[in-house]
Amino acid sequence: MRLPLMGPPVTVERGPFWWMRAALGALGTAALGYAVFGFLANVPLAQLIGVAAWLAAALVVHDGVLVPLTTLAGGGLSRLTYGLRPVQQGIVRGALLVGAVVTLLAAPLIRAQQVLQPSGPGSGANHTVLQGDYVQALGILWLVLVVAAAGFVAAVGLYTRRSSVKKTRP
């Protein structure tokens, strides 16, 4: 199957907006060209293969694993929080999202600590890096998120129930 060179022709007026796009495009292409030249001139071939492998793996892991997982998690949440009001669902999702973002950063930190900090005298390890108790910090953060989210969800539930009760005469 042969691809056409261009899409359907679009007539564009060459105003300032067109020139801005053209300038940005030209600058971007020049910077990309400089980057390709820089890689070829400064990075040995064996390392270039490593870079290409990491670039490909990043796409596969992100597009093939991480995003589908968020979709699954979102669907699961919809089922779990069925019956809650939109505001309450938003609170639950917001708390989980904040926790997920922090975990995304803390997980490699915890892993690095396991890999890089051999203990014992004479190990020569640098004890001014990776010295925090990150597992505990992450645990406390999740606890705060869960308690806060539960509190807000309950408060919203109580408030909306109270405001929806109608007074009736006996």
């Binding site: 940005l24 990491w54 990043a58 904040v98 973002v101 490699p108 890089l116 390890a125 010295q131």
Partner: protein
Amino acid sequence: MDRLTTLLQQRMDAVNGRFSSRLRSKRLTVVLGRWLGMAFTVCFLTGLFSHLLQDPPGWMLFPTRPVWVYAATQGIHVTTGIASIPLLAAKLWSAFPELLRWPPLKSVVHALERASIALFVSASLVEVTIGLLNTFQWYPWPFSFKDVHYWLGWVIIGSLALHIAVKLPLIRAHWSRRSEASAIAGEAAEAAPERETVPAAMAPATRPGWSRRGFLAAMTAGTGVVVLTTAGQSFAWLAGLNLFAPRRMDAGPQGVPINRTAAQAGVEGAALAPDWVLTVASGSVHKTLTLSQLTALPQHSYGLPIACVEGWSQGAQWRGVRIRDLMALVGAPADAGLQISSLEQGGVYGRSFMPAAYSQDEKTLLALELNGAPLDLDHGYPARIIAPGRPGVLQTKWVHRVEVI
């Protein structure tokens, strides 16, 4: 062939349907893209500054005031890099259905555009990942961090400019809620001129799940939390909130963190040797100074930050001999550059070049004391360089030779 195409299209539409979310919209992508574009641009510029300080071209200007200039730019570099991780994840999530569009390639130009997007996305993901792991001093990849991080930075900034150029009409149409509403109304009017439609942007959120504003608020909160709980390694006023940074202020011997220990550098024996001398050389003039002779020279004391390329910094009080006084001892010309040699052999830390902008600065010292006590072995005993506004990797430790070039 046609039936196969139709079947494929239906399948892809079904997959796309699985990934559809009320939250995803061009407006959301534009809002997130604005933040991410700013973060990437700041990251690129501060990173470029750091790179130029380490590998200076002939025209480079070396700012020495304010003395915390490098601590600030590199702290900002690492902090905006960390902030861009959740922003990047959200931005890519918001535009994910674009990946599943069918047919995948409509023309050669379209194919090039998609290839450039793939490169942009993968380069961004790798760049923030290796940047973060570098701050842990963890290198689980088969390439040089410094080179690859630098050149990927150029890939990203080039791709960003190209991406904005391609998407500018969409960005303009969805820049604000008002412009989006009119853009959607315009599209709707073109599609169905006889029916009155309420633009989706104006429709109230009635379905379960959450609104765009809720999602953006949560993203802002998440980004804020990771910034506030890590930036304390670079900025003293946030040190109290530092939960998730690899570095702590005031940690280490004499209250200053270490980039590389004496054991890692393999200099313990040579640095503690009683016959250590400093050699200062200019042409054929050589002068050797013992530690007690150095201590007998005029001493100067300054508060200067030490700031690492990994983003952490630490203010400290340094005391020692001015470099320009040492140069005067051997009659070196004032505009001369210096080569500083460490007892550490080879590597990036073994030698550093000091342009005249630093060597002539009154605050550039061959430091012998730190925070009121002789330098700890891990901080470069018996003598180290400390200059205002320079990357930590150039503040050579365990100095044994200063040579005019």
